[in-house]
């Protein structure tokens, strides 16, 4: 099998008892790119990652990762990938350096390779000083960074990151973004990144695949996806809260209403920002005064909304409250 | 300025006395309402989750079988003057289950602290000791259920009872006092430590006290260090009194009750002070 740094999936399906967590995913990740897999909790992201990293066999379909078939060449796939799963999954009793030793040793590296490579990676992720402390004393951000370093110890060509910044503070998140970006654009590592944060996909990914209820509903660069939607959003807050319905009625003349929850009204403008003057005149004509008026360029959330009928934020809340099945990667045993 | 004595006269009036009595009665009924609710919840949980109830049922039965069955030959040793080895072991197993029954409820208290439920109970109850009383009621009910089953099985498998009905009532009464004492010990520990992780702090002292009493043979057949320890262990007096009741030959029963009851009284204070610490911790 010709080696490459790419990923290709065809008709991937994973059925768990009565839940079809992944429902026919076709995707292609080019060598050296950062592919963002965006969707709310329960969408099928982690299940897809588990299949592509050979931890879970697909019910149907196939995929090649790094040029190797996930079903027939699982061991070869594992040799060329590094994985940082949703839970950092570290041993609280071992130190950072001991984790390096274990992981490197199991990958067949010599003690010298582990020592040199491990030290370099620990320094790169800012854990040199904490390397000899037990992981149980690490903060959440430190654990994620160690997880990333461990995923890289055997110099993989492809890197899978499953929600790597969930629960991190802003600073830690930015540091991780820098590191991931450097890996892809400087070192040529292909990165498959799952996230539920649209700003993460927007900032980091070269291309984004949006997954909803197990299906890929959109794919492309962030700019191209947003351009598909094309139209900006106008959001207004009435000066008198009792006038919100009149405000909605006026705005709906200029575009498609959008769901909002905070006493404001929003529409997607049919003819773009050129309509702004007409909007203002319309409001004035109806005697509706506004306290705030904002125009937003399309976001990935708008893309998600256009494709699925709900916003990513709303879908995330529903998943958190259990209205849609929360994704669980079940062990078959 | 009011006339001196007018207030006293007002307070002594029939209307004021009726009002005070009504307030006291309301308070008492609220107290028992809280205690009943806590007890009901604990018992309901135990019935719904057999895993919570089974250990307190299975272990006494198992120990009875293992000791009475496996060591029955010991009952024939010279100097072993008790009438029946099964009955000899049964009394220990009954009192052991009484003690550990109190501790099992301590697990519930610890688990409820961990989940935050105890805090919610304490916020809701005007008199927080009613919450502890509720757990205590559950401990007694669960213990009695276990004793009925264990006693039934012991009788069905051939244990001989030499004591009269009154003697057996005395034995059960002794077991109840032990159960209550152990419960207040567990409550005192759990209200101070407030987590299920502290379970060994309840179990270990109890285990040491139980295991250094005459379990396998009467005190006259003990040798070595355990003979000395058993002599000063208050649980020894309780076990021996219980065995004498089972044999229909009550001996030092009042002493045993006094030892158990005074232990229980001290432990009530221990648990009350633990409750105050839990309240202060919030």
């Amino acid at each position: 099998m010709e080696a490459s740094n790419g990923i290709r999936a065809e008709g991937l399906v994973r059925q768990f008892k009565n839940v079809r967590a992944v429902d026919g995913i076709d995707l292609e990740v080019r060598p050296g790119e950062i592919y963002g897999f965006l969707g709310p909790n329960g969408a099928g992201k982690s299940t897809t990652v588990h299949m592509l990293t050979t931890l879970l066999p697909p019910t149907e379909g196939t995929a090649t990762v790094g040029g190797y078939d996930i079903l027939s060449d699982g061991a070869a796939v594992r040799d060329v990938i590094g994985v940082a799963l949703q839970d950092a999954a570290l041993d609280q009793l071992l130190t950072g350096r001991e984790h390096m030793k274990l992981q490197g040793g199991l990958h067949g590296l010599s003690p010298e390779e582990i020592a040199d490579g491990g030290d370099a990676l620990l320094e790169r992720v800012g854990l040199s000083e904490a390397a000899d402390r037990r992981v149980g004393t690490y903060s959440g951000g430190m654990k994620r960074r160690l997880d990333l370093a461990l995923a890289l110890i055997h110099s993989p060509r492809l890197l899978f990151l499953d929600e790597p910044t969930t629960g991190l503070d802003v600073q830690s998140r930015a540091a991780l973004w820098d590191e991931v970006s450097g890996l892809a654009h400087r070192d040529g590592v292909t990165v498959f990144l799952t996230t539920q944060y649209l700003e993460e996909a927007d900032a980091l990914a070269d291309r984004v695949g949006i997954i909803h209820q197990g299906k890929l509903v959109a794919e492309g660069t962030p700019a191209a996806l947003k351009a598909q939607i094309g139209r900006p959003t106008l959001e207004a807050v009435p000066a008198d809260p009792s006038q919100v319905e009149r405000l909605e009625a006026v705005l709906s003349r200029f575009g498609d209403p959008l769901p909002v929850t905070n006493g404001s009204a929003a529409v997607r403008l049919s003819d773009g920002t050129e309509e702004l003057a007409d909007v203002v005149r319309g409001l004035d004509g109806e005697g509706v005064k506004v306290a705030d008026l904002q125009v937003h360029a399309p976001t990935l959330d708008d893309v998600f909304l256009a494709k699925t009928g709900r916003s990513l934020e709303g879908a995330r809340e529903e998943a958190d409250t259990g209205e849609h099945p929360t994704e669980q990667v079940e062990s078959p045993a | 300025m009011r006339e001196p004595g007018r207030r006293a006269r007002e307070e002594a009036s029939p209307g004021a006395r009726r009002e005070r009595a009504r307030l006291v009665s309301n308070r008492r009924s609220r107290y028992w309402s809280v205690a009943r609710t806590v007890a009901w919840r604990n018992l309901h949980l135990a019935m719904r989750s057999p895993a919570l109830l089974l250990p307190s049922l299975v272990f006494p039965l198992f120990f009875y079988m293992a000791f009475a069955g496996g060591l029955s030959t010991v009952g024939g040793l010279p100097g072993f003057d008790y009438y029946n080895y099964d009955a000899f072991q049964f009394v220990f197993v009954l009192l052991q289950s009484a003690a550990f029954g109190g501790v099992f409820i301590g697990f519930s208290i610890g688990a409820d602290f961990d989940s935050g439920f105890t805090r919610r109970l304490m916020l809701a109850a005007r008199d927080r000791s009613a919450v502890i009383a509720g757990y205590g009621i559950a401990a007694v009910v669960r213990a009695v259920l276990v004793w009925v089953v264990v006693f039934g099985i012991a009788l069905a498998t051939g244990m001989e009872v030499a004591g009269s009905g009154i003697d057996l009532v005395g034995l059960v009464g002794l077991a109840l006092v032990v159960n209550v004492a152990a419960f207040f010990f567990a409550a005192g520990v759990m209200t101070r430590l407030r987590t299920l992780q502290a379970a060994p702090a309840m179990q270990l002292p109890l285990f040491m006290i139980l295991m250094t009493a005459p379990i396998y043979v009467p005190r006259n057949l003990l040798e070595g260090w355990i003979s000395s320890v058993a002599k000063v262990n208050p649980f020894t007096a309780i076990v021996e009194a219980g065995r004498s009741l089972m044999a229909g030959d009550p001996f030092h029963v009042l002493l045993a009750f006094a030892a158990a009851a005074s232990g229980a009284a001290l432990l009530v204070i221990f648990s009350w002070r633990g409750l105050r610490k839990a309240e202060a911790a919030g």
Binding site: G74, V83, A88, L94 | V74
Partner: protein, 264 residues
């Protein structure tokens, strides 16, 4: 970064996993101390509390301490079940198992590695129990060589029960389920010839249960080295039963591991 070197040899993998198992054992006093202290405490209680049992006609020794010394070795093995099982169940529960699964690690190397920690605790226990027994006045009828054989039998039993723990941990993936086994193993221990020789148990049903219970043969094998010297039959049965339990439990653990390690 250096290039990956391919799949390491089985013994290399086992070495790294064993190293991890040993470190984890050393760093958890709660795993080392109770399995040492609790059995010794019970030995002290039983040796003193049941010393009158040596007056039973045909009791094989005049020292109940010597008779009961085999008991803590068995108890220690039950703790081994718990430790091995909960360690692997925790790895499954917190995702560390997936981390290992993503390396070239093979199933057998994981089992070998985990059992190494069990054998370390088993060695510490055997040394402690033997030292305590000798210090309290018991003597080994089989002498110095017998002490070595005692160690070997004790470690065989620890490995056997450790394998049971591994099976339970891999099958259930739950520490609570593994700990639920502990009372059952305790019951097995008591329904045996732990407290009296089988031929001196007067209760027919108990004697029958003790005869069927494999734990009786393990205890009798250990005990024979302490109070009798060299009893070939008891030793053969002891080692034989330990080996049989180990083989069956390891086979079951391997099957459970195969189901758990479903990587393609």
């Amino acid at each position: 970064m250096t290039a990956a070197a391919g799949t390491p040899a089985l013994r290399t993998q086992a070495r790294y996993l064993a190293w991890r198992s040993v470190i984890r054992t050393i760093r958890q006093p709660i795993v080392i101390v109770p399995p040492l202290v609790f059995p010794l405490f019970l030995l002290a209680i039983n040796a003193s509390g049941l010393s009158a049992a040596t007056n039973i006609p045909d009791f094989p020794t005049s020292s109940y301490l010597a008779f009961a010394l085999a008991f803590p070795f068995m108890q220690g093995s039950i703790f081994a079940t718990n430790t091995a099982g909960t360690n692997i169940a925790e790895d499954i529960g917190n995702g560390f198992f997936n981390r290992l699964a993503l390396t070239p690690m093979s199933g057998p190397s994981l089992l070998v590695g985990q059992l190494t920690g069990v054998l370390l605790i088993g060695t510490l226990q055997a040394a402690a129990f033997l030292a305590a027994g000798l210090a309290a006045g018991a003597s080994l009828e089989s002498g110095v060589l017998g002490a070595l054989v005692l160690f070997a039998l004790s470690l065989s039993i620890a490995a056997a029960f450790g394998a049971i723990g591994l099976f339970a941990g891999l099958r259930t993936g739950s520490s609570e389920a593994v700990q639920g086994l502990f009372p059952l193993m305790f019951i097995l221990l008591f329904l045996s010839s732990a407290s009296l020789p089988r031929d001196l148990i007067s209760s027919d049903w108990f004697r029958t249960v003790a005869t069927i219970n494999p734990v009786s043969y393990l205890i009798e094998g250990l005990r024979s080295l302490i109070i009798m010297g060299w009893d070939a039959e008891a030793l053969a049965l002891g080692f034989g039963v330990a080996a049989a339990i180990f083989v069956v439990a390891l086979w079951a653990a391997t099957r459970a591991l195969r189901d758990r390690l479903v990587r393609t």
